[in-house]
Symmetry: C2
Subunit: 311 residues, 2 copies
């Protein structure tokens, strides 16, 4: 068991430089990486996985790395963009072994490559507090499609159909080892959707806090942008639930990492997507951003989601 | 005292969107930010500040934010590049107040703007472990100069002069409240240097682990690149020491965040830079990457620096 040493970890990262694409002109080992940039637009985001928050102390290291990378690629999918590269920033627990640190970074690199976003830079530090957990943040860089289409979450209109890319709910799984650790970011599904519908894809986002809460966010953003109060209206029987998952969990559980899109009401959802509802005008007296119709009942769908830090 | 709530923090970040430059086409609040990119090259890096490692629990929040931003801008300076934007990823202690979290992000934004790199995105999470410290990682995006010059750390040659941009040592200061919290990244000095010397600036890096260790890294990288074993040779009396700092500390203390550059031996260092030594060929029998000449003595300068995790 080799004790942690940052320099050895950084050297191990640089040792794989030969496998990077030729568009990476300056590779790990210098103060910054230099990339040939394929367009005159750039998309970027950062997201993190913290042990104790997003994963547990017993989550295998490879899956921690995978989740951290995949969450970011899910954001790329949500914009309809194409991934280019990732950077990783790791704060390691004092008690972590050198082998485990290497495994973490090798896994980040492997999953980045697997998902089309090679690891081009990063930073590693070791906590001083013996109880402090692993923090792994990933920055992702992406480029728009060649047709320039980028899909925000704020373009939904009255009459749009709401569609999702897969079955929802129960992602955390028994003992926390569920789909949230093994999902594939929907980069290809997003491209298929835009290939088929072009600018008739009005709004898109990935589902991280549950369909109820997240659709409410899309309605909020789109209402602000369009100047018209919107509401997401779901039909209970149309929502694809994961096996053994209740409707309430399908609407309320977080970490599905499926796509939610609002498409032109006259368009047909391509294969792989399910229509789950529509966008309607919201009455002034109705504060609800998302509702679900269950028989004759109409329930607030935003009360079921998982908001970080409030629970 | 308001308890922490991530969504309120994110909303506060988005509330300042109106002040972002018009080149930020999609602003905080969506899954990713979208930027007009000013060239066909992109530089990026990520660096972090962790309470207990880089700052203490008593460091004022504004200075934690400042240091996190400034460290990254120092990397931009080191490449001779021009800053474009930053993203921030914060893992907040459980006991942090909402006000403190807002101050942290407002400070990141303010210092980003001050240093020419507006905050265009980020992520915030709250630790579950009550003892876990604040982790703040910053990603910086930069673009090359219009003449395309980018300076790596691997271009030093035999005969080059070694120059530094300021006085060294004692950055941590008494009680840890020294220059490492308040330095200004040398972005302008780097530009002045390249404006004056162009491609005669052969190599450059910022000093984070001490002149001795860092110059050794430059020699190592340049030896590998150029295929010739190099050594940095400093003259003790030429090294600019901060007031009250010994030579040993000027060579060995970390966190100077001054620039070290190797320039063509026939060039003159512009105003603001001091010649501290030269690059020489290293004898096969000599493993030392950097030495300092003190009178008749020649000492290993790399043994004095601060290597993360080894001390």
């Amino acid at each position: 068991m080799v004790p942690l040493n940052e320099e050895m970890i950084l050297n191990a990262v640089a040792a794989d430089n030969g496998r990077l694409p030729s568009t990476v002109l300056i590779r790990p080992g210098d103060d910054m990486a230099l990339l040939e940039w394929p367009s005159n637009r750039l998309l970027c985001a950062v997201d993190q996985v913290v042990v104790g928050v997003h994963v547990t102390t017993s989550t295998p290291i490879e899956l921690i790395a995978r989740k951290a990378v995949a969450r970011n690629l899910s954001d790329v999918a949500a914009m309809g963009a194409l991934p280019v590269a990732i950077l990783a920033c790791a704060t390691l627990p004092v008690a972590m072994t050198q082998e485990a640190a290497h495994e973490l970074l090798a896994s980040v690199r492997q999953w980045g490559r697997e998902f089309g976003a090679p690891l081009i830079g990063g930073d590693t530090t070791i906590h001083t507090d013996v109880a402090a957990p692993l923090v792994l943040s990933i920055t992702v860089l992406a480029t728009p499609r060649t047709d320039g289409i980028v899909v925000t979450r704020s373009g939904a209109c009255v009459g749009d159909l709401l569609i999702v890319s897969g079955a929802l709910g129960g992602s955390f799984g028994e003992e926390g080892l569920g789909r949230h650790l093994t999902f594939t970011p929907r980069v290809r599904a997003a491209q298929t959707l835009i290939d088929a519908l072009g600018t008739r894809v009005h709004a898109m986002m990935d589902l991280s806090d549950g369909l109820g809460v997240d659709s409410g966010r899309m309605m909020h953003a789109s209402s602000q942008k369009g100047g018209c109060a919107l509401q997401a209206q779901f039909l209970a029987e149309q929502i694809p639930c994961q096996c053994g998952v209740t409707l309430s969990c399908a609407l309320g559980d977080g970490e599905d990492y499926e796509l939610l899109a609002a498409i032109d009401g006259r368009a047909a959802a391509p294969s792989g997507f399910t229509v789950v509802g529509q966008v309607v005008a919201r009455a002034e007296s109705d504060p609800r951003l998302a509702v679900v119709l269950i028989g004759d009942e109409c329930e607030d769908a935003t009360q079921l989601g998982w908001t970080h830090g409030s629970k």
